[in-house]
Structure formats: C-alpha cells, structure tokens
Symmetry: C2
C-alpha cells in the first residue's frame, strides 16, 4: 500500500524519465500514471509505473516505466473460458530490460530476483532487450522482467488488458494498487 505522497513522487520520477527519453505525455496522463507496488511495500525493488494509452476490447497499448533495477514480478495472463490470455509485445524504447521466460536458464543471469522473494521466481531463460528491440510473449506464459542500472522504458503492445486476472507466482501480491 502506498501513501498519496509516495504515488506523486513515483509519478513525477516516471514522467521525468519519459521526458528524458523524448516521450511526450499529456498533463492528464502524468496525473494518471499508475504506480503498481504489488502490495509488497518495496516499490523501489518490486514495482512498475504505467501509462495506459488505450485499452479497448480488441487491443491495448501502454508505456511501462521501470526505475533502475526495478522488477515486475513473475506472472502469467491465463486463458479463460475458451479465450486465449493476453498476448503482449515488449519493445524497449530507452534503457535496458531483462525479460525472463521458461526455457534454458541463463548461466549467469544479469537480473536478480528481489532479495527475500527468490522463492517466487521460477523461470530464468533470459532475453536482453535494448532500445529498438522487442519480444512477444504468448498467452498464459510465465514471465518477469527487471530494468538495468539506468532503468527502462518499454512500449507494450497487446491484446486487451485485464490486469485483475493476472496470476502471480507470489500469492502475497495484490496487482490493483491501493492508496492510503
């Protein structure tokens, strides 16, 4: 759970990173930057900032902003009632991001699960995404990602987004932000 002051501070920091990367957002989008701290109380380590550009019943586009070494924890977008889960393409715009999916584990991964949460990270096949590079994650596929030392800005292009149905490996996680 975040205080209003923590939210405003994270929003300002995210907006500053976007500006530095030459990515324009409106004042309204700045005010609405979503600060996801996943209920763990350690936003700097486990968290994600999002600008949702559009989310219709057909497609979705967001900008994801990660502070240096910030981690979006392991999760998947499940198939439901005969419908495939969310499919998403991550395109790095600025900085660097390491994405982890199932497969041959990296012998020396560049990202590290946040200390104290190691048990909730189970896939370690590493994809390093630099600016201009991208990777598409199929539906219902476990994945997590972490920014490099400078942070990262990642465009997410996807099918419709239903964050509330995401399934996290760490059952302590609450995806929908709560502000006190």
């Amino acid at each position: 759970m975040l205080t209003r002051s923590q939210v405003l501070s994270a929003q300002a920091r995210a907006a500053q990173m976007l500006a530095q990367a030459g990515i324009a957002i409106t004042p309204e989008e700045h005010q609405n930057v979503e600060v996801a701290e996943f209920g763990l109380g350690e936003l700097e380590k486990t968290g994600l900032e999002l600008v949702v550009y559009v989310n219709t019943d057909r497609y979705c586009a967001k900008e994801l902003i990660l502070f240096p070494r910030q981690t979006c924890p392991e999760h998947r977008h499940p198939n439901t009632a005969g419908n495939p889960g969310k499919m998403e393409t991550f395109r790095c715009r600025w900085g660097q991001v390491w994405l982890y999916v199932a497969g041959e584990p990296a012998p020396a991964p560049q990202g590290r699960p946040p200390m104290g949460s190691e048990a909730f990270y189970t896939v370690f096949h590493e994809i390093c995404i630099n600016p201009g590079e991208q990777y598409t994650i199929p539906p219902d596929t476990l994945h997590w990602f972490q920014a490099g030392d400078l942070g990262a800005i990642v465009s997410e292009f996807s099918s419709s987004s239903h964050d509330e149905s995401d399934i996290f490996t760490d059952l302590r996680i609450r995806r929908i932000p709560e502000v006190i």
Copy 2:
C-alpha cells in the same frame, strides 16, 4: 511505382526522422521500412512510410513517418463477414498531424488535399494531434491525414492490420507498394 533508389532514399529519410525523435529501430527494420506511394507517383505529396513492429491476429503496432505535408489519402477499413474492420489509435510522437474524419468541417482547415486530387477527399472534420496526444478511429470510418510543416511521427496501435482490404476514395490508388 517506385524505383529501388527512390525506396532507399525514402527509407533513409524516414530513419533519420526517427533517430532525430529518439526512436530506435534495428538495422533490419531500417531495411524493411515500407514506403507506400499509393500508385500515384507523387510520394512527396501522397505517401506514407511505415515500420511495422508487430501484426498478429489479435493486435498490431506500427510507427508511421510522414514527410513535411505528406498526406495519407482518404480511406476506410471495412467491416467484413460479421467482423468489425480495423480500429486504430493514432498517437503523435513527434511533429504534428492533422487528421480528418466525417463531421462538422473545419472552417479553415490546416491541411489541404494534394493538388489535383481534391475530388477524392470528402471528410473535413479536423483533429489536430500534437506530441503526446492521440485519437481513436472506429472501424469502417473514412479518414485521411497530413503532416505539418516539419513532418510527423505517429504510433499506430490497432486491431489486426490487413492493408490489402483498405478501401480508398480515390480508385486510382494501389495500396500495396510496387517497386521497379
């Protein structure tokens, strides 16, 4: 129809505009920049350059690059066999673009149909899109757009893209590029 040399020149110019706006693409994407001249032989006036990031059966994302005052001619994405046509969101990243759809015509439109093709432009409700601003076009909706004096870079987020089924007001137009 374009010569190979014209294609290479337009690709280089588009890549330069992207670089200037801080938008990274891979060398392979540079080589594959699509140069659409619509079969009219006047690329500077009527044309569009595209980088297709991803186009699946669920969603699509592209970067559209328009040279100064370059125009994407009036067209719509038709509904077919019970399926709604393509729905698309244009988000301006750099420069300025004027989008025209049906509705109250602008008393003094900032864009102008390319000279000699005026008969094929029928909608004049103007939406001016600056960096950080966006507009969503419903399926089967006539629209055209033109860049401002500096050109424009526009992210297009959409449902699946099937360019070959686009319907243009100007029946002379050939959407799929031909290179001689």
